[in-house]
């Protein structure tokens, strides 16, 4: 990088205007050879967990050590998450765009030799279309990607998030330059209003309207005003925000700076979950580089506007995603929510007007400013404009991150993009909105996925987690899971949440043991109502949603637990027994060796038997058996 700045004869990197930004961009692009082979190695959390750093090391060693015979020395680039983590580690070879999946260090030599030297594909590493069996060479042709519309994620997987020049070459900070040099703050707010963008953090509040109210609050109370990024991503099972912060940190930062300009804020905060160390590191690097380039800090792009921001790491409390709790946490205190008689845009952080938006919301801002509100409003459906990123997880073939226009159907996401449930049967339900949301059953698979349709179905958009369940997932168990989660995360400040959730969970515990009656279902419903009405913050008031929707759509399954003492999905431990199918059992003895209760007996090559009285129902035998001989009844 130092070479670049001397070449451009700049005061160490500080850009003085939009034109200088453009000149730098042109220069970076001109310095690149579009035909130069490039090895893109995914370095998102998922692929790193699968060892992609070792793959990168192997590539470096192979290229440096051997001095390969290619005409042009290939470049190596590490990027954020491509969204298809279940196939990782992913490697893409440019310029052809060859897509290799599940690459191991031992495959590297073959890739170098076949692809980089001889220009041929390594077929065994290609993606195979599950329906036709055809090999697919190009990333963009894989149905998982082809059916998406990647706008917020457009740079992720293409740029190196730790190198600002790569972001600038891809058009980063163009929107900021446009706002600072050609738009008044009022015009920025008006553009946001016109775009129809609604907050991506859960409640779907219109972003432009929030900014407008902040301007009104400033009129009354004056400045300072603060802008804050909610990167707490507390919904367990969601990793959209993680991916954006890791893979395109400058997009979040650029959005935040534009927001600060619109509101006249001098200081911003990024509140990021501590469980995301890589996201924190990439944001820190991004902020540092943006300061060096004059895009953050004093006198940004020599426009006279100054703004800086800092990162607060979360400390492990789900409730801190709630706006007022998040503010008290930034102030260094326990994150207890406060009643919202006064809205937080008026009285937020340090008691000052504050705009808090979600990571994905902020990342949409530069797109809207650069391409215009009309373009944006044309995406999606009228009351839910734009796209939404979802984390598609659970019992689905193509687990990963998907971005689609608002309003496509649930079936499109789960069956077309997700490739359906592994055993080919229809899915049972999809949980959206995390612990505050609800289950959408298969019968409603054509529900359009937008804010209002999901709410009408009894669930909510939430932050965008989509957890696919199949017939082996029990709704009572899932209800208990979310209640236990929220019970633990409740801050305890108000009674309906503190005691109400515990009572709800106790009733469901009884169900899972086959104890209860139809009347308990009524009790669940009326207690839920009381919690919804009485809880102080949305953690409590939305907590009954998973239970209420599952009762609404799966009442018989609840009843089966208490009337027939059966868990139809075979999950609730007290209602199931494990057995071994003598037809399938080969007598390999693997399960008997693994069983912690030592309750499996049988000789070599003869069918084994489980002593159901001693059985702990831990499920290890089922996990161990290679012949699928262990069954649940």
């Amino acid at each position: 990088m130092p070479n670049l700045s001397t070449a451009l004869k700049m005061d160490p990197w500080r850009l003085q205007s939009g034109e200088e930004l453009n000149r730098l961009r042109a220069q970076i692009i001109a310095g690149r050879d579009p035909q130069r082979p490039e090895i893109i190695i995914c370095h998102g959390t998922g692929c790193l967990a699968n060892g992609s750093d070792k793959v990168a090391k192997a590539f470096r060693a192979a290229l440096e050590g051997k001095g390969i015979q290619a005409k042009v020395m290939p470049g190596i680039k590490t990027t954020g998450c491509h969204g298809f983590c279940s196939r990782g580690p992913l490697v893409i070879i440019r310029p052809q765009g060859l897509f290799y999946q599940r690459v191991k260090p031992k495959d590297v030599e073959e890739i170098v030799d076949h692809t980089l030297v001889h220009g041929k594909a390594v077929e065994r590493l290609l993606y195979k279309d599950p329906s036709s069996g055809d090999l697919i060479f190009n990333e963009g042709e894989i149905p998982f990607y082809k059916l998406q519309q990647r706008i917020v994620l457009h740079n992720i997987g293409k740029i190196d998030p730790t190198d600002i020049t790569d972001t600038i070459a891809a058009g980063g900070y163009q929107a900021l330059a446009k706002a600072l040099t050609t738009m008044t703050p009022e015009q920025v707010v008006a553009e946001m209003e016109k775009s129809g963008l609604r907050g991506r953090g859960g409640a779907g509040f219109p972003t432009g309207r929030k900014w407008r109210s902040a301007l009104q609050a400033i009129k009354k109370k004056g400045r300072p005003v603060y802008v804050v990024v909610n990167g707490d991503e507390g919904d367990p099972g969601a990793f959209m925000d993680r991916t954006i912060m890791e893979g395109d940190p400058h997009a979040v930062l650029e959005g935040l700076i534009i927001g600060a300009y619109a509101l006249g804020a001098a200081q911003g905060y990024l509140y990021v979950r501590a469980e995301y160390p890589l996201a924190i590191r990439h944001l820190e690097i991004a902020m540092h580089q943006a300061r060096e380039y004059g895009l953050l800090g004093e006198n940004i792009l020599n426009s006279g506007f100054s703004f800086d921001a800092r990162i607060n790491r979360g400390a492990g409390a789900f409730v801190c995603g709630e706006s007022t709790a998040l503010f008290t946490s930034i102030e260094g205190k326990p994150g207890n929510p406060r009643p919202k008689y006064v809205r937080s845009v008026e009285e937020g952080l340090w008691g000052r007007p504050t705009v808090l938006n979600n990571v994905e919301t902020w990342a949409n801002v530069p797109l809207i400013i650069e391409r215009g509100a009309d373009w944006y409003a044309g995406l999606g459906v009228p009351h839910s404009t734009g796209t939404k990123v979802f984390s598609l997880v659970g019992k689905v073939n193509n687990v990963g991150l998907v971005e689609v226009p608002m309003g496509v159907s649930m079936a499109h996401i789960v069956e077309q993009i997700g490739g359906g449930v592994p055993d080919g049967k229809p899915f049972k339900a999809v949980q959206t909105g995390g612990p505050s949301g609800g289950c959408i059953p298969y019968s409603l698979k054509d529900t359009p996925v937008d804010f209002d349709s999901l709410t009408a179905a009894g669930s909510m958009m939430g932050s965008g987690a989509m957890i696919v369940m199949d017939h082996t997932d029990c709704v009572v168990d899932v209800g208990r899971y979310f209640l236990r989660f929220l019970e633990e995360e409740s801050c305890g400040k108000c009674l309906p949440c503190r005691l109400g959730l515990t009572r709800l969970r106790e009733i469901l515990d009884n169900f899972s043991q086959g104890v209860g009656s139809e009347k308990d279902i009524e009790d669940l419903t009326s207690l839920s109502q009381a919690i919804q009405d009485g809880a102080l913050c949305a953690l409590g008031s939305s907590a009954p949603n998973p239970v209420l929707t599952t009762i609404r759509y799966f009442r018989e399954e609840y009843l089966a637990h208490v009337q027939e003492h059966k868990c139809p999905a075979g999950v609730c431990k007290d209602l199931i027994t494990y057995g071994i199918d003598p037809e399938r059992c080969t007598g390999c003895m693997n399960c008997a060796r693994q069983c912690p209760a030592q309750c499996i007996t049988g000789k070599k090559k003869t069918a084994h038997v489980i002593d159901t009285h001693k059985c702990l129902r831990c499920g290890i035998c089922k996990e161990t058996c290679k012949f699928d001989a262990v069954f649940i009844s």
């Binding site: 959390t45 998922g46 790193l48 967990a49 699968n50 983590c85 279940s86 991503e233 507390g234 919904d235 367990p236 099972g237 969601a238 990793f239 993680r242 501590a274 469980e275 995301y276 160390p277 607060n312 790491r313 400390a315 492990g316 409390a317 789900f318 946490s329 930034i330 102030e331 260094g332 205190k333 326990p334 994150g335 984390s391 997880v393 659970g394 019992k395 687990v399 990963g400 991150l401 949980q431 995390g434 987690a465 957890i467 369940m469 997932d473 899932v478 899971y481 979310f482 989660f485 995360e489 801050c491 693994q594 912690p596 831990c618 499920g619 290890i620 996990e623 161990t624």
Partner: protein, 165 residues
């Protein structure tokens, strides 16, 4: 690993002396020492001028803080929704049996601390277990057993080397 004056002072120097930096300080102390000792807590609170009670109310409110020493290795089993559906709870129970310790606790020999965590953002690889910041994707009890054995073996080597030195 009792905090030594010099090192803890270095942490104290990192931030301005303002109450809003309490969480930052406690996080850094915990990162260096694995827990927040009474002594370190007192130093931090004095430094930024908040009552000790506030220090403890913060440290007990947030799940990531520990007030007693943690084990040499930290095992975190993800119990986020995706991991729950793929058997995360079974892994916790299995580890509890294997290590003879309850989730949240530390083994008597201070070798392992077993914790649970709500989603580490690698949901596509569920169930996920993180051992000393190393992710174990698609974890099974068998794979974990193997991995813990390698750690044990390493520890054996370290102990021997320690004895020689």
């Amino acid at each position: 690993m009792e905090p030594q004056g010099v090192q803890i002072d270095e942490i104290m120097e990192r931030y301005p002396d303002k109450p809003e930096y309490l969480i930052f300080l406690l996080q850094d102390i915990q990162a260096s020492y694995g827990y927040i000792s009474a002594q370190a807590m007192q130093l931090a609170c004095d430094r930024i001028g908040v009552p000790l009670t506030q220090g403890y109310s913060v440290a007990t409110f947030y799940q990531s803080f520990r007030l007693d020493p943690s084990g040499e290795h930290e095992i975190r089993v993800c119990l986020g929704t995706a991991c729950h559906l793929k058997g995360g709870q079974r892994l916790v129970e299995d580890l509890e049996r294997r290590l003879n310790v309850e989730a949240g606790g530390t083994t008597e020999d201070l070798r392992f601390t077993l914790n649970t965590v709500n989603c580490v953002g690698a949901c596509a690889l569920a169930p996920v277990v993180v051992v000393d910041n190393e992710y174990q994707p698609n974890a099974t009890s068998k794979k974990l057993e193997k991995y813990l054995k390698t750690i044990d073996a390493l520890a054996g080597v370290e102990a021997k080397e320690g004895a020689h030195a």
